[in-house]
Symmetry: C2
Subunit: 358 residues, 2 copies
C-alpha cells in the first residue's frame, strides 16, 4: 500500500512544484522544508500528502505565490505581520525570524500574523529558535472542526500549540499538539483501516458520543482535549480559544467559525471579520532569564529524571516530548519516507499537470 522515497527525491519534486506556481527559489526551498518536516517527523497527514491541497488553494487564487511579507505594526518586543495571502509554509518562518531578532534585541519577541494560510506543523517553526539558545513557541488557528464543551456546532480549529526548549547534552524538549483529544489525521488513518475511533474523540452532529471515525463527513465534530466536561474538555476548549484569539484577534485575521477552510472546493464563510488565517509566534532568549549553560544543565537533569520515572506495567519508558518525532526523523532520513499509494497517485497527477518529474 505504500512506496518509499528518499527525502531528496520528494524534496526536489516539491520544490519544483512550488517554483512552477511562481515561488522564488528561496521561498520554494523554505516552503518545501516546512512541508516535509511533517513527513520526516511522522506527521504524515501534514506533509507532502497536502502538497496538492496547497496547489489547489493557489489555483483558487487563495494563495499568493509572490507575497510581500510586511511588518505592519511593531514595538521592541512585538510585531504584527501581514502574510499577503502567502503560503503559511513561508510566512511562518518569516514571522519566527522577526521574533528571533526581537528576542536578540530585547529578550523576547512575539509576533501575530494575519492574512496567511496553513503553515504545516507548528513544531517545525518553534524549533527555529533552538539553535539560538532560545525557546520557540508557535500556534495557529484553523478552520472550525471542533465543538466547544456543551456545544454541537463547529466553532474552533484543531488549533495546535508547539513549544521547543533547548537542552544541553540531551535532545531538545519539543511539544507539538492539537488542542483536541486526537488530531484529524488520526481519524483519517482509522478510516483508511476501517477501524472505529475510541470514545472521546468525536461526536455526531447532535453532539452524541460517536465512535465512527468518518463522523466528520456526517456533520460530526472533533472534541476538545479532555473529551467531555467531566474529564476537563472545558480546559481543551479554553486552550483552543486562546490559540484562536492570539492568532486571529491580535493580528486581524479571521477567528472562530470564520476561519477559511483548507480544502479549496469548500466555500468561504460568510461575513468574515478578518483576513486569512492567523498564527502566533513567541521566542524567549534563555539568557534573558539566566545563563544559557546553567539552564541547559538543568534541562538535562529534568529530562534524565523524567526519562527514568517508574513506568506502569507493560510500558518501557516515559517519553520526553519530541522523542518519537526525532527518532522518526533519523529513521526516515536514513531509510526514506513511505508514501501511501493514494498520495503517490496525487503527486503523479501534479507531476503531469506541471510537467515536473516525480
Amino acid at each position: 500500500m505504500s512506496t518509499t522515497f528518499t527525502y531528496e527525491h520528494i524534496y526536489n519534486f516539491s520544490k519544483n512544484i512550488f517554483l512552477k506556481i511562481g515561488c522564488n527559489e528561496t521561498d520554494a526551498e523554505i516552503a518545501t522544508q516546512s512541508l516535509l518536516s511533517a513527513d520526516l517527523r511522522g506527521v504524515d497527514s501534514h506533509g507532502v500528502a497536502r502538497l496538492s491541497g496547497y496547489i489547489r488553494l493557489w489555483e483558487a487564487a487563495r494563495v499568493n505565490a509572490k507575497p510581500e511579507l510586511k511588518i505592519i505594526h511593531e514595538t521592541p518586543s512585538t510585531a504584527v505581520v501581514d502574510g499577503d495571502r502567502g503560503l503559511g509554509l513561508v510566512v511562518a518562518p518569516f514571522a519566527m525570524q522577526v521574533a528571533i531578532d526581537k528576542a536578540r534585541a530585547v529578550g523576547t519577541g512575539w509576533v501575530s500574523v494575519k492574512n496567511s494560510n496553513h503553515f504545516g506543523i507548528a513544531g517545525h517553526h518553534a524549533m527555529m529558535a533552538l539553535e539560538h539558545d532560545m525557546i520557540g513557541i508557535a500556534m495557529t488557528n484553523a478552520s472550525a472542526l471542533v465543538a466547544p464543551t456543551f456545544s454541537k456546532e463547529r466553532m474552533l480549529g484543531t488549533n495546535p500549540i508547539a513549544v521547543a526548549i533547548p537542552a544541553g547534552d540531551q535532545p531538545a524538549f519539543v511539544a507539538d499538539f492539537a488542542t483536541t483529544t486526537a488530531a484529524n489525521g488520526k481519524l483519517e488513518m482509522l478510516q483508511r483501516k476501517n477501524l472505529e475511533a475510541p470514545t472521546g474523540w468525536i461526536q455526531d452532529k447532535e453532539g452524541n458520543v460517536s465512535t465512527n471515525a468518518g463522523e466528520l463527513k456526517n456533520g460530526g465534530m472533533l472534541v476538545p482535549l479532555g473529551g467531555d466536561k467531566e474529564h476537563g474538555s472545558h480546559k481543551g476548549y479554553a486552550l483552543g480559544a486562546i490559540v484562536d484569539i492570539f492568532s486571529g484577534i491580535l493580528s486581524g485575521a479571521n477567528y472562530g467559525p470564520w476561519v477559511p477552510p483548507f480544502p479549496a472546493y469548500l466555500s468561504m464563510p460568510e461575513n468574515m471579520p478578518g483576513e486569512g488565517i492567523g498564527h502566533f509566534f513567541g521566542v524567549m532568549r534563555i539568557d534573558a532569564f539566566r545563563k544559557a549553560d546553567e539552564f541547559k544543565e538543568h534541562m538535562d537533569k529534568w529530562i534524565i529524571r523524567f526519562r527514568a520515572a517508574q513506568t506502569i506495567e507493560g510500558q518501557e519508558k516515559v517519553i520526553i516530548p519530541g522523542d518519537p518525532e526525532r527518532e522518526m526523523e533519523i529513521e526516515r532520513m536514513k531509510y526514506g519516507i513511505p508514501l501511501l499509494s493514494a498520495v503517490v497517485e496525487d503527486l503523479k497527477a501534479l507531476s503531469n499537470k506541471f510537467k515536473v518529474d516525480f
Copy 2:
C-alpha cells in the same frame, strides 16, 4: 455543614493574621486579596481554607513574612525575581507588576520567579493585566502529585495556567485551569461526600485506573489532562512540563519531583536543585499588536458568537471561560462566602492562637 460570612469579615480576619506573623500593612492586604479571590471565585480549596496551611509554613520557617523582593536579572522585556521565601500571595502580584511595567515600556513583559511559595489561584494574578488593556498570563509549578503518561511516579504538580484577555462591553475572557483532568480540590470534595471519582481522574500507586477519590492517600497519583494516552494525556503531560520548565528552570527554582510540598509537616525533597517553588508571568499590551478598541470589539464579537453556539440537548448554553467564576464572585460579594465547619474550626484555632477576633 457550612456557615456564611461576609467578605469583609473574612478579609479583616485574614489580614490581621498576616499582620500577626509580621507582614507589613501593604503585604497583609495584598496577601489577603490574593487568597480570598479564590473564595470569591468559587475555588474554595485555594482560599481561606488554606490560611492555616500558609501559617504553618511560616511556623516551619519556610515562609518569610518580610521578604525583600528583588529583580536579580533583567532585559527590557524579561526579569527573574527572587521571592526571598515570601508568601507567593505577595510575590506573584509583585512579579506581575514588573511584567506590566515592562509591557508598558516595550510591548510585553515576561517574569520568571524563584524562591517563592504557593500563590493562591493563577487567575487572580493574570487578571491584574486587564485594567491596563493588557493580556495577563500566570502559571506556577507545585509539588508533585501527577504521573506523566506511562508512569506510576509523582513527577509534576497540578501546574495551572491562567490567561486573562480583555474584552469591550463583554466581560473579560479568563481561563484558569490545572493541567490535570481534575484539580485535587475536586477530589477532596468527593471524599467529603463519600463519592467515587470518575475514571480518568486518578490512578493507584501501580498506575491502574482508580475511582477511589482518596487514592492519593494510598500513594496514588493524579493524571494529566486527557486521562490516558489514547485520549491525549501526553498533551496534558506536555503542558504540565512546560509550566514546570518556565516556572522552575528559567528562574532557578525547584522543578519536577523536587518542588517543596505545601503541607509543612511533609519533609522536603532530597537534593533539591533550586530555590523554593517557581512561577511564570507574562503580560502583552494589546496596542503593541493592534488598537485596543479594535481588538476589544472583535473580542466582543468572539464572545457573543461563542455564547450563541448551538448546544447539545440538556445544556442551556456554551460557557465563556471566566463566566462561572465571575457570576460566583458577584453572588458571594452580595450574599457572603459559605465556609465548611471544618474550615471555621480551623480559623477559630488560628483566632485563639494569634488572639485575633474571628
